[in-house]
């Protein structure tokens, strides 16, 4: 089978979970005997050559130009029959085109694939909620409340310059292109439900987790005598949606005596890109207890086993729903339980008492109470360590997808 995997970014230049999952999929399929895969990653226009929208950067590895914004999700390169993109696709001649995301690429790319490769099966893996929500696809209102349902009227309240009719037009436009997709893949049930509520036919959505690379299951961290499992750590980007500030606040509010037995380590990237007031707030929170709170800066994925060896709990603070955060699978694979908000994809992926524990989303007090309980009850860690799930490895996901590619189409 010939599979083209199209991603909205290349992990060499943009380290998002979706980009990494897409490349893992490409490599996973290509490693299979009897299958060939191509990786086509979108890149900003200046990274491309003059006069062409495509660029081969390796064997079966391409960049394609594009800068489709959130507002319209509309392609910025020509995609018609005579376009570079169509010529590239015809040269690959895929049996399956698997999109990871549509942001930056533009939804018209789905149409271009349908025209250039009329027989190819089109698969689209959904990440967050950009087709549904203009507010960075987070389904959080612009004034910060969690949003439960798409509605043109409500969306226009979030964006006063946008009329409900324009919201509706965007919906119809995206759906006109989504109608050409044979199978959607949702990495979480929660995300699948949100897209079905928005109007995607449930029969065309399959819930399949993103693959996670092979990681060693670590033993619990060795404790000093009398020491609790009190090392909390945050891994991931530092931005307002991820709620690091909430985690810091919760930890800082613990009684001093407890904090002396515990620590909070922050491994985070992208802080420098954040607006000044947010950076200041993070800096102030980091400084509340320099003995117990440590900021380590960004990390490489390869470092993760070593970093997680030194900690007990992975803590998430996201103030939006999330989809299927990679860090949950990584933590579970490495044998570390996760503390996360009780909403969305996080709540789905962390079964309380099995994969970790929930606290009330957006509530630092609730997290602090949870931390306090974990610090004072040593039995909890022992119990959960025995139950931690083992995420499905990449290879298993690839096998499942290959089966899906070869199977009957749902309702075309």
């Amino acid at each position: 089978m010939r599979v083209a995997v199209i991603a909205h970014g290349h992990p060499d230049f943009s380290k998002g979970g979706a980009e990494i999952a897409a490349r893992d999929l490409w490599r996973g399929i290509d490693a299979h005997p009897g299958h060939q895969a191509w990786f086509i990653a979108r890149a900003p226009h200046p990274m491309l050559h003059l006069g062409t929208a495509v660029c081969a950067i390796g064997e079966r590895e391409f960049l394609v130009a594009g800068d489709a914004g959130i507002e319209q999700l509309s392609a910025t390169v020509t995609l018609g029959d005579g376009s570079d993109f169509a010529a590239m696709l015809r040269a690959i001649d895929p049996d399956v085109v698997h999109f990871h995301h549509y942001l930056f690429l533009g939804v018209e790319m789905i149409r271009a694939v349908r025209r250039a490769c009329p027989r190819a099966r089109i698969v689209l893996t959904l990440h967050e909620y950009l087709a549904i929500c203009r507010n960075v696809g987070q389904m959080v209102t612009t004034d910060g409340r969690l949003c439960h349902r798409y509605s043109p009227l409500a969306c226009a309240q979030c964006f006063p310059d946008v009329s409900p009719e324009d919201v509706f037009l965007r919906e119809r436009y995206v759906k006109a292109h989504f109608a050409l997709v044979d199978t959607f893949i949702a990495p979480s049930r929660f995300l699948a439900e949100r897209y079905v509520a928005w109007g995607l036919p449930a029969t065309r959505i399959r819930v399949i987790e993103n693959g996670v690379r092979e990681l060693p299951r670590l033993p619990p961290r060795a404790l000093a005598s009398g020491e609790p499992h009190g090392r909390f750590a945050y891994f991931g980007q530092i931005n307002p949606f991820k709620g690091v500030d909430l985690v810091l606040e919760a930890f800082a509010s613990l009684p001093r005596a407890l904090r002396r037995q515990a620590s909070l380590d922050v491994f985070g990237s992208a802080l420098a890109n954040q607006p000044e007031p947010f950076r200041q707030r993070i800096a102030q929170l980091l400084a509340t207890d320099p003995q117990a709170i440590h900021y380590h800066g960004p990390y490489e994925p390869e470092e993760l086993p070593r970093l997680m060896q030194e900690i007990d709990w992975v803590v998430m603070g996201s103030v939006w729903w999330e989809n299927s955060p990679l860090v949950i699978q990584e933590a579970h694979a490495l044998g570390r339980p996760v503390l996360c908000p009780d909403i969305g994809g996080m709540a789905e992926k962390v079964e309380p008492g099995v994969g970790g524990f929930h606290y009330r989303a957006r509530d630092a007090r609730s997290l602090a109470t949870l931390m306090q309980r974990l610090l004072t009850d040593p039995q909890v860690y022992t119990d959960i360590g025995a139950r931690l799930p083992v995420p499905r490895p990449c290879a298993a996901i690839v096998d499942e997808l290959l089966g899906l590619y070869a199977g009957e189409r749902d309702d075309v």
């Binding site: 018609g80 149409r111 025209r115 043109p152 009719e165 037009l169 119809r172 006109a176």
Partner: protein
């Protein structure tokens, strides 16, 4: 003094004693010579006066000269010869002029036709010393007394001519244009015509605060060319009483404005004068229509005539920069003060200004558009429907429609035409057409003509280019909900009894009804107008799927035969910007016995925008709508189109 009579007039010899001197002839003809100017250097005389001849008794004006006679003749030395004065004969010029003042004085009931009672007469030097006589059909003649007037120097000639201004102005200008003599006099009169009169008008005020006569102001004058002028201003009298109001022009033409004034509330005038002048009426403002055809820069004046015989003149400035076409009409409407206080009088307002606006609007549309067409893809052979979508204001609706059309098999038989009715959109539309044609493979044509012709004009241009027997008129903000809607409408058009036009159910984005047929409605808030109502608008659709006959349909999405469309003359472009032209077309079809059907099985979304009725110029837009509504009502009442209130007899069979 008309031509056939002039040709009957022959020179006549008669005894001096037989010629009475009077300003009134035996035939009831009255005349008066007001000015006699002897031209000093070039010779000849100019006479300015009037002849009032209500019963058509006058045969001709004669020059009266002494006749030597033949020796032995009984009349020798005592005879006169009456020489008929014919324009352009023997160096004579005789020109008629408008004299509304004469008509007012002698013919207050307007029994005689017209007001061309005045004359300007040039007698060449060969007739120096001759008198002037009236000759009636019955042969009776009367000599007119002439004013004593010495030969004048150019300087006093100027005053003399100025004295008979303005009634002689046009005739004098004509004399100058053709030349009445040599050298100086031509130059003088030419100068007078171009400077003296203009100077008089220039010197006239725009604002008058003259308690014995009037307080008045000319605020804004709109020049509508052949349709005359629309004038905004205000006036009130503190002591005097206004008895007549005229518009005057340099050509001596005058218009009685008694029936052309629409009073307007002017709070600002009250605020300024109420303290000084108690009891001031609230409606001191006026909008008046001057029916005199007027070019930009041509001078016009308002003449107020008061009970005590006084007059006041105000200048009507016609040289201010003004926009063209529809923009001018919009400005006129925007100038109307406090329209919220006039609602009950809008009917009368448009009865006054509507015909002028209508005629002006028509005069702006005389140029046929230079249409350009670009085809994207090979045209569909033998198309079944031509889908026509005008684009105005925003272009992006086009791509939203195209992606919905792309996979509908009906579009394999569709001749798709986008009409750029907004020059600013041309490039984006062409780019989008190229892009989306390449992406979707859907053939289409883009039509443009470098101007904004409105909804009707845009559709008419495209209909002329349409290749299919059925037309589907479509707004750009209408999106199909499912495939097959075109065939559904097409089957209805050809299958339903007497169907002339069919329309789908249109729904807002939330699914509530936007259009399920329209009905005429007399709005109690706008007496005299016939508006359109959308029954069920905003409600969920609960009607049956079966087609239902309707009094009216909206052209946001309708299908009709191309032949019917063309035979009805297309959409009427006399409506401004876009309103009622679809109802008009519906009624034109109904007048031809066609029926209108709603076909609810075909469903589309119509994203009709709230913003259409928002913003600061809401009243201006509403007045434009009302102009169109006024025009619509008039066409119904004059039988040009069917009356939508008429019950349609049920179909004999289905």
């Amino acid at each position: 003094m008309d031509t056939d009579r002039e040709t009957q007039a022959m020179p006549r010899r008669m005894p001096r004693a037989a010629l009475p001197r009077s300003e009134e002839s035996v035939g009831g003809v009255r005349a008066h010579v007001e000015s006699l100017l002897a031209l000093d250097r070039c010779g000849g005389r100019v006479l300015v006066g009037w002849v009032f001849d209500p019963r058509g008794q006058l045969l001709c004006l004669d020059a009266v000269v002494a006749d030597g006679g033949a020796p032995g003749d009984a009349l020798h030395g005592a005879a006169l010869v009456l020489w008929p004065l014919l324009d352009r004969h023997e160096g004579v010029r005789l020109l008629r002029t408008h004299r509304p003042d004469v008509r007012d004085a002698l013919d207050p009931r307007r029994e005689a036709s017209g007001d061309e009672h005045g004359f300007v007469l040039y007698l060449p030097p060969s007739l120096d010393g001759a008198g002037l006589a009236l000759r009636c059909r019955d042969g009776a003649a009367t000599e007119l007394p002439l004013p004593e007037q010495p030969a004048v120097e150019p300087q006093s000639l100027r005053h003399a001519l100025a004295g008979c201004w303005p009634h002689a102005a046009s005739a004098l200008r004509e004399l100058v244009a053709e030349g009445i003599g040599a050298g100086d006099i031509d130059a003088i009169v030419a100068e007078l015509a171009t400077t003296e009169f203009d100077a008089r008008v220039t010197a006239m005020p725009l604002l008058l605060r003259d308690p014995p006569t009037t307080f008045a102001s000319i605020d804004r004058v709109f020049v509508l060319g052949g349709a005359g002028l629309l004038v905004f201003g205000w006036h009130f009298e503190s002591a005097n009483r206004l008895v007549a109001l005229y518009a005057e022009g340099a050509d001596g033409r005058s218009a009685d404005l008694a029936a052309s004034v629409f009073s307007l509330p002017r709070q600002d005038v009250i605020d300024e004068f109420a303290a000084a002048i108690p009891g001031l009426a609230p409606d001191t403002g006026f909008l008046l229509h001057v029916p005199l055809p007027t070019r930009l820069g041509e001078w016009r004046a308002l003449r107020f005539v008061f009970a005590d015989g006084r007059e006041s003149w105000l200048r009507l400035p016609t040289d201010a920069a003004q926009p063209h076409g529809v923009a001018l009409i919009k400005q006129v409407l925007a100038e109307i003060p406090a329209p919220d206080r006039l609602r009950h009088r809008f009917g009368a307002l448009f009865d006054l200004v509507g015909p002028a606006l209508q005629s002006f609007h028509a005069s702006c549309r005389t140029q046929p558009p230079a249409v350009q067409v670009q085809a994207f893809g090979s045209p569909v052979t033998d198309p079944r429907f031509s889908v026509i979508v005008p684009l105005y204001g925003r272009a992006d609706f086009m791509r939203h429609q195209l992606v919905q059309f792309a996979d509908d098999p009906d579009f394999l038989r569709a001749d798709l035409i986008y009409v750029v009715d907004d020059p600013a959109l041309l490039q984006p539309v062409l780019d989008m057409a190229a892009n989306f044609h390449a992406l979707l493979g859907l053939p289409l044509r883009v039509v443009w003509y470098g101007s904004n012709r409105g909804f009707a004009g845009a559709n008419n241009v495209a209909a002329a280019l349409a290749r299919a027997p059925a037309l589907l008129l479509l707004n750009s903000d209408v999106l199909p909900q499912q495939h097959g809607w075109l065939s559904c409408l097409d089957e209805a058009l050809h299958g339903l009894p007497a169907a002339g036009m069919v329309a789908p159910l249109l729904q807002f984005a939330d699914g509530s009804v936007q259009h399920a047929g329209m009905v005429p409605r007399e709005d109690p808030f706008l007496p005299g107008f016939l508006m359109n109502a959308h029954p069920g608008k905003g409600m969920p659709w609960t009607g049956p799927d079966e087609p239902a006959e309707q009094p009216l349909l909206t052209a946001a999405c309708v299908m009709l035969r191309r032949d019917d469309y063309l035979q009805a003359g297309g959409l009427d472009e006399g409506y401004i910007v876009g309103d009622f032209e679809d109802s008009d077309l519906c009624l034109a079809l109904r007048k031809r016995g066609r029926r209108l059907w709603l076909v609810p099985r075909a469903r589309l979304w119509h994203l009709e925008r709230q913003s259409q009725n928002a913003g600061s110029s809401a009243w201006q837009r509403q007045l434009l709508t009302l102009f169109n509504a006024w025009r619509y009502r008039r066409r119904i009442e004059t039988g040009v189109i069917a009356d939508p209130r008429m019950e349609v007899p049920p179909c004999a069979s289905r």
